[in-house]
Symmetry: C2
Subunit: 236 residues, 2 copies
DNA sequence: CGCTTAATTGAACATACTCAAAATTTGTGG
DNA sequence: CCACAAATTTTGAGTATGTTCAATTAAGCG
């Protein structure tokens, strides 16, 4: 299997990604980022970085979908964050100078750029507006993490799986046929919700029987979103 | 019961707290913070801010101990963070402009200062070094939150409670008699570990029988820390 | 001293996990 | 394109962990 491919992406000055944190940078700053930039193609399932390793820079998803997960001692995975096109990865490790505390794996074929630590830190030091957006980003991530903590700590599996589907929908969107634009294994679905494969299978199958979703081969079609929200029992 | 007391604390320029995020500020900046500062005494159990409310500023613990917790729909609490002397509270809500996503309650009689949103934001905008320390702080909090997520998701109650004791020891320290310098109810202990009161009671009682800790009235004495670490089954 | 809150204990119960086995799908090389 | 291997999905049954509920004892406080 081909593990990695050098590819060409446009320089950051010409990147079309709208919701990227780098959008607010000046052309000059973007050029500085681009100088050290490397772009790679990652096949579905490939790992971008491993928990425990030290970062040489940070990653920016040019196009693709990524899960960030931690491994428990029994080998069971827990997804702590999901990221899509335009989002950055591994910035926490760069900011703190520590090793990665989680592993990033691509969920579908993806194009991901790599930016050097130094050019990132330089911008961070020189551009306070950029620092403030990083702060916003961290704040959001922290909020989500703490909310997920409450969910896993207190909600039953069924509610968590319903919420997982809704989160995936929010994050990655649906196609014209109301289908989730992403194929996950049942195990991966369980790893997000914090349940075992078997529980994920049984619960997703229940949703199917209840006509909340429809399983179309590998794809999940959303048939009754209000009901799904009700099942998820979302408070805020 | 007296709910709150205006008190006098030294101006920020003369604050003796060593590990505060404000230490790196210039005297001028500290003075600007002090201008709008209010200080209050909070009795054990009093709430500093409530989940859902909007912030007028942020809090800095002059001396004391605070838990930050979220409430599930069954009324069960989950502690998401602990804070002690010198630490700041409620900064996430200020940074994002959103409402508080958790409730802060003092765990023992505390003196807490209140700084205005504006003066905080002003420093944030003008002092990039300060922004960078906020980034560091958020990074740490996020790391802890994600690690707690993995724990609650995958570790059994016994391990989580052992780790809870170790976290409390790290955070708040032991006195000369190896006793935890803080009195918590069994319920609060459970709220940190993510278990019910009954499970907390039974497990803490087990630790006592196993001579890992000793229960001295309301206080917990640490008798065998290596064994506690082993029970907690800590990986990193 | 009485009242409220906290701690403790026991027993029943439920949720979700583990384990095992079968069916199905997917991927790969011939 | 088929055949085989590997991975994934599915189903069932048993089980464990930790919860819920209820009742009792102890502690704290005005």
């Amino acid at each position: 299997m081909i593990r990695k491919n050098k590819i060409d992406t446009p320089p950051c000055t010409e990147c079309k990604n709208k919701n990227s944190i780098f959008c607010i940078l000046s052309d000059e700053e973007k050029e500085n980022l681009s100088v050290s930039k490397g772009s790679n193609f990652y096949q579905k399932g490939q790992v971008v970085f491993y928990e425990g390793n030290y970062p040489h820079g940070l990653f920016c998803i040019h196009k693709g979908k990524v899960k960030i997960s931690k491994l428990g001692d029994e080998g069971k995975e827990q997804v702590v964050r999901l990221a899509g096109t335009g989002e950055i990865l591994g910035y926490r490790a760069v900011l703190s100078g520590e090793s990665y505390k989680a592993t990033a794996t691509v969920l579908e074929d993806s194009y991901i750029c790599h930016l050097s630590k130094d050019s990132f830190n330089k911008i961070l030091e020189e551009n306070n507006v950029f620092s403030l957006s990083i702060i916003k980003l961290l704040s959001q991530d922290l909020k989500n993490s703490e909310s997920q903590l409450l969910n896993i700590s207190q909600k039953p599996a069924r509610e968590r799986l319903a919420e997982t589907l809704l989160i995936l929908k929010e994050k990655f969107g649906l196609d014209e046929d109301n289908q989730l634009d992403l194929v996950l294994t049942r195990r991966e679905l369980g790893d997000i919700a914090g349940v075992t494969v078997e529980t994920a299978i049984r619960t997703i199958s229940d949703f199917n029987k209840e006509n909340v979703i429809a399983i179309k081969g590998k794809k999940i079609q959303f048939k009754n979103i209000p009901k799904l929200i009700k099942i998820a029992n979302i408070i805020d």
